[in-house]
């Protein structure tokens, strides 16, 4: 009697509902979903536009972002750069003659200082590996001067104004540390100065144009996206135990880098290779 109950029960529990779809069910699902998949793909391909990652990783940074960052940097404070004047003898001189007597009026800078404000630093355009920007600096202060006017020694603290507005070209590169570096190309930019001199009866503006090497004034900027030099891979562990996974270090190398600019955006692409450490 027991056997008569047990055997069918065993059949029932063992031959219960199969885990997988039957062939007919599977074919129905495949056939009915195929046209929907195709039409959705058509729609999505239209919406997503042209994406063609020529390399393993690609980063696109719009002009608007660069300007947002640079604008904030420029407007943040108005004492971005400090200037300390050192002794300059003479900064200006003129030879004069009165009733046959020759003399020299001259003025020296003794000390002084001022703060320059970065009034603007904006990206004008991006083209290939180059970033074209304009930098504008301005500042006023006082400078201590001494000199001679008509043979009479005197000193004063006239106002000095400094101004610079120049286009600058930056070159963009991937560094050995796998960061994007934006570096100014060598160029002499002109810092214009005006000293409103009033020394005894001598009142003249003194204009000087001072050439500066831009690569010394602006250091390379490293951009925020970088590739790390190593990665930890979670791989199955070789030893029997509770831990089934171990983290294995790999070295990463970047290569075949392309930097380009399209649609007012900076485009950086590169390949990546992995090697177990």
């Amino acid at each position: 009697m027991k056997l008569l109950i047990i055997i069918p029960f065993l059949f029932l529990i063992s031959c219960s509902k199969p885990e997988f779809y039957s062939i007919e069910q599977s074919e129905y699902i495949i056939n009915s979903s195929r046209p929907k998949i195709d039409s959705l793909n058509l729609l999505i391909n239209k919406l997503k536009g042209n994406i063609s990652p020529e390399r393993d990783l690609s980063i696109k940074i719009r002009n608007q972002v660069l300007n947002k960052l640079l604008r904030t940097f420029a407007f943040n404070r108005n004492d971005d750069i400090s200037i300390t004047f050192q002794q300059t003898k003479p900064v200006f001189s003129e030879n004069k003659s009165t009733i046959g007597i020759n003399y020299t009026n001259l003025v020296n800078i003794d000390t002084g200082g001022l703060k320059l404000d970065i009034k603007s630093l904006a990206v004008d355009k991006l083209l290939n590996r180059n970033l074209y920007a304009t930098i504008e600096l301005e500042g006023s202060g006082q400078v201590s001067v001494s000199g001679k006017y008509a043979g009479i020694p005197a000193s004063a603290s006239p106002k000095i104004d400094l101004y610079l507005k120049e286009p600058v070209v930056f070159d963009m590169q991937i560094t050995p540390q796998n960061t994007l570096s934006i570096k100014p190309l060598s160029k002499k930019v002109i810092l214009k100065s005006k000293i409103s001199l009033k020394l005894l009866q001598w009142e003249i503006p003194i204009y000087k144009e001072i050439p500066l090497e831009i690569t010394e004034l602006l250091k390379p900027i490293e951009f925020p996206l970088s590739i790390k030099s190593d990665i930890l891979f979670p791989l199955p562990t070789q030893t029997i135990g509770d831990n089934k996974i171990e983290m294995v270090p790999y070295i990463i190398e970047t290569r075949d880098c392309i930097i380009n600019s399209t649609d007012n955006a900076l485009d950086v692409r590169f390949n990546v290779s992995f090697q177990k450490k």
Binding site: Y21, L47, L57, K60, I231, F233, I245
Partner: protein, 255 residues
């Protein structure tokens, strides 16, 4: 009579062990359908996932397409993701003290809306002397946590691969089921893979110091400063070509 009863009980016990896998039923139906059934069932499951993902992706893009206006976009190509999962080829591990497995092959299927990583696994149970081939299909998900990008792998389908012309025996199926459970647990508990991409939230503007010896002698100094900002993820889209991240930059400040 007593002995006949005992022998009968023993036979039923052995039969039930085999019946548990419907071995008898399969033989009785005379059809060798496991290989085709598994393959079709796998395809069907993948189609279901693809359709579901496509519908969600289409709805998202139609509602708000960030792709043309994002501040920063970052794309991880299909080739790169393939390179990542290929690192698992040839790796071996232990499901339990008797069962060793090896990942023989990997395959990446990237469609609009979904990414599926498939692992072909060979497992050998030394206690029962059973070798089982399995395919484990996993959904790939992507997330950003602060400045790191993670790939999550989530198994959704583990099926035995039946050798052509054969069907799974009862013992093979039992071992296969145990292996599936263990594999599923390992897959679900696999630590997320952190992509080797660092998204810093500051830009360092280095200090500059120059001495001018010209018409006016001067020393020019600018201090080191940091431009800080927030990244906000607008979209993470899985596309045929790769995985697309779109980010916006705001709360810019200088320190």
């Amino acid at each position: 009579m007593k002995y006949i009863k005992q022998i009968l009980h023993f036979i039923i016990f052995i039969l039930s062990f085999n019946i548990q896998s419907c071995f008898v039923l399969k033989e009785m139906t005379g059809t060798n359908i496991d290989e085709i059934q598994f393959s079709k069932a796998r395809q069907a499951k993948i189609h279901e996932i693809q359709l579901n993902s496509l519908e969600k992706l289409a709805a998202r893009l139609q509602k708000s397409n960030q792709m043309a206006t994002e501040d920063i976009s970052f794309t991880v190509s299909r080739d790169f993701l393939s390179k990542i999962i290929k690192q698992y080829i040839g790796t071996s591990g232990w499901l339990d003290k008797d069962t060793r497995f090896t990942i023989e092959k990997t395959e990446l299927t990237l469609q609009n809306g979904s990414g599926i990583a498939s692992f072909s696994i060979q497992a050998f149970n030394s206690f029962y002397k059973v070798e089982v081939d399995l395919v484990m299909d996993c959904l790939m998900n992507f997330r950003i946590d602060t400045t790191d990008i993670f790939i999550e792998i989530e198994p959704f389908n583990i099926i035995p691969v039946v050798k052509t012309g054969l069907i799974l025996s009862g013992t093979e199926e039992i071992i296969s089921n145990l292996i599936k459970i263990n594999l599923h647990n390992i897959g679900r508990n696999l630590p997320n893979l952190k992509l080797p991409v660092e998204m810093k939230d500051t830009i360092l503007v280095k200090s500059a110091n120059m001495v001018v010896a010209d018409k006016i002698n001067m020393i020019i100094n600018s201090p080191e400063r940091n431009i800080s900002y927030n990244f906000k993820i607008k979209e993470i889209l899985i596309l045929e070509e790769g995985v697309y991240f779109s980010l916006s930059v705001d709360k810019v400040g200088v320190r």
